[in-house]
C-alpha cells in the first residue's frame, strides 16, 4: 500500500508535518489530545522514540493511536534500543498495521537520558536501518532469508544543516539518500540564509526536504539551545526580538517567529515543506500554522 504521506510528498504541495511525544506512563490523555488537535491540520504526525533517551510509551503505540484516530503517522525508529532482529520485527508489525512511514534515526546517546546505566545498542546505524527497510521491501531480511510478505515504507531521515563542520554531515546526508531516504526532516533551523545555501546543494537530489521548525517559547530557551544543542543556531536578532517582549508575551512572539519562517520558506519555494516541533507545547501548533497563513 502506498502511504498517503508519500502521495502528498509527491503532489508538489507544501508539506507540513509535526510531532507528538508519548507519555511516561499509561496515561495517554494528553498525547491523544495532541493527536486530535493535529491530525487534520498536518499531513503526517511523527511519534518520537524515547526522545532524548528518556524511557516512554513506545513510538509504535503512538502510531497505532494515530491510525485509529484517522491520522497519518510517521514511525520514528532509533537504533539505540533494539538490535537488528527487534528493528526488523517492528518494521513487520508496523507494515501490517498500516503504518507506512518510517523515520530512520541513530538515536541520542544513553548518557543524555534517564536510564544512564543502560546499554546503548547501536547494532545498526541510521544508514544501515534505511538499507534494511529497502532490503525488506525486496522480500528479504538481513540474515539473507526470504520474507513471507514484504514491507512497504516511505522512508525518511534527518540532517543537520547548521552542523559545524558541515561537510561530514553533507557526506552522510548524501549517503542516506543513496541508502534509500525519500524525505528529510531537518534539525531546527533559524537562519534562512544559511538554510537557503544548504538547499542550493540539496536541490540536486531527488528527495523532499522538510525544514525543522522548533518553537521558541522564550529568549532563555533560544540562548540555551544555541549554547547547548548540537546543530542549533538561533541568530542574535531573533533572541533580541524575544527578549524585547514581556515574559507573558514571549510564547506568542515565538509563535509569530515560527509562522513567519514557515511563510518565508513557502513563499520563496526554498524547500518542500516544514516539520514543526513544538516540544511540549503541541497545542499551539494550529496557532503557528495560522500565523504562517494556513
Amino acid at each position: 500500500m502506498v502511504s498517503s504521506f508519500k502521495e502528498v510528498l509527491n503532489s508538489g504541495k507544501f508539506v507540513i508535518t509535526s510531532e507528538v511525544a508519548p507519555p511516561k506512563g499509561t496515561n495517554l490523555e494528553k498525547t491523544l489530545h495532541h493527536i486530535e488537535l493535529l491530525k487534520d491540520k498536518v499531513d503526517a504526525i511523527n511519534v518520537t522514540d524515547h526522545q532524548s533517551s528518556v524511557m516512554r510509551f513506545p513510538s509504535i503505540g503512538g502510531c497505532l493511536a494515530i491510525k485509529e484516530m484517522g491520522g497519518e503517522p510517521i514511525l520514528q525508529m532509533t537504533c539505540r534500543d533494539r538490535n537488528r532482529l527487534a528493528l526488523q520485527a517492528e518494521l513487520l508489525l508496523a507494515s501490517t498495521r498500516g503504518i507506512n512511514n518510517v523515520l530512520c534515526l541513530t538515536g541520542d546517546a544513553i548518557p543524555v537520558g534517564d536510564h544512564k546505566e543502560a546499554k546503548g545498542v547501536f547494532d545498526l546505524d541510521s544508514l544501515q536501518l534505511l538499507k534494511t527497510v529497502r532490503l525488506m521491501e525486496s522480500g528479504q531480511d538481513l540474515g539473507g532469508n526470504d520474507l513471507d510478505g514484504a514491507v512497504e515504507f516511505c522512508a525518511g531521515a534527518t540532517v543537520t544543516p547548521e552542523a559545524q563542520p558541515l561537510e561530514p554531515q553533507i557526506i552522510k546526508f548524501e549517503k542516506k539518500i543513496e541508502a534509500g531516504a525519500e524525505f528529510f526532516q531537518t534539525q531546527g533551523i533559524y537562519d534562512l540564509d544559511n538554510f537557503t545555501k544548504f538547499m542550493e546543494h540539496a536541490r540536486q537530489f531527488p528527495v523532499k526536504i522538510l525544514a525543522g521548525i522548533i518553537l521558541l517559547s522564550s529568549a532563555r530557551m533560544a540562548k540555551f539551545m544555541t549554547a547547548n544543542v548540537p546543530g542549533i543556531f538561533v541568530p542574535q536578532s531573533i533572541i533580541d526580538e524575544l527578549a524585547a517582549m514581556p515574559k507573558e508575551e514571549m510564547l506568542n512572539k515565538g509563535i509569530e517567529i515560527a509562522g513567519r519562517m514557515i511563510a518565508a520558506l513557502k513563499k520563496g519555494s526554498i524547500c518542500d515543506g516544514v516539520h514543526i516541533m513544538a516540544i511540549g507545547k503541541e497545542e499551539v501548533v494550529p496557532d503557528i500554522l495560522a500565523a504562517a497563513g494556513f
Binding site: T106, G107, D108, P111, G120, P165, P168
Partner: protein, 214 residues
Amino acid sequence: MKSITRQKPFEEIKQQLDGFDRVFIIGCGTCTTMTKTGGIEQVLEMKSQLQEIDKLVSGWTVIPIACDEMSEVAMKENDRAIQNSNCALIMSCALGVHRISTYIDRPVIPALDTLFIGVEDTPGYFREVCAQCGQCIIGETAGICPITACHKGLVNGPCGGTNNGKCEVDKEKDCAWTLIYERLKAQKRLDLMRKYQPPHNFQASPRPRTVKIS
C-alpha cells in the same frame, strides 16, 4: 599498551572481604604499577587500610607480570603466607586475577575494575583506541577506530550530536568522525567517507574468544 584499571570503592572491597579475616595481597609490576593502581605503594597502602579494619595481612607481593605463567613460581614462593590467609586480594587487572586463580586454592578477590586496553598519549593520560572487535576497518578511517572513538560506535559518519568537533556526551571528548574527516581530507581520501559500511559482524569471533596457533 596497558591494561587500564581503577580501584574499586573501598566499601565494595570491604564487602567482598566479609568473612575473610586473613588476607594475602598481590600487586602487579607491569600495568597496575604504571597506572598506580597496584604497584608497591598502592599495595602497602591497601595493607594499612585493611589493618585499620582489623584484617590480618598474612603477606604481600608484587609479581613482575601477574598475567604471565611465571606467576605460578611467585605463588609457590609465597605459599606459606598464602596458606596462612583466607583469600587473596589482587591488585592487578582481571587477566592477572584470572591467572592467579588457576595457581592458588584460596578465593581470589579483585581490588580493581579493569576498564580497557589503552595507549598512553601523554604521561599519565591513557586512551582507548581499539575495542578488539575482530573486524578492523581503520584502513578506511584514517587509523582512527570509530567503533572505539565514537561513543555510539558509528561506522558510516557522524551523528547529529557532533558539535564543533566535540561529542554530545562529553564536551571534553573529540568527535571521532570529525577527526576522521579532517585526516581523510588532509590525505585527499575523503571518498572513503562516502563508502557504505555494512552492519558489523558481532560474531566475527564468537565469545568466549579463543585462538589456537599451530
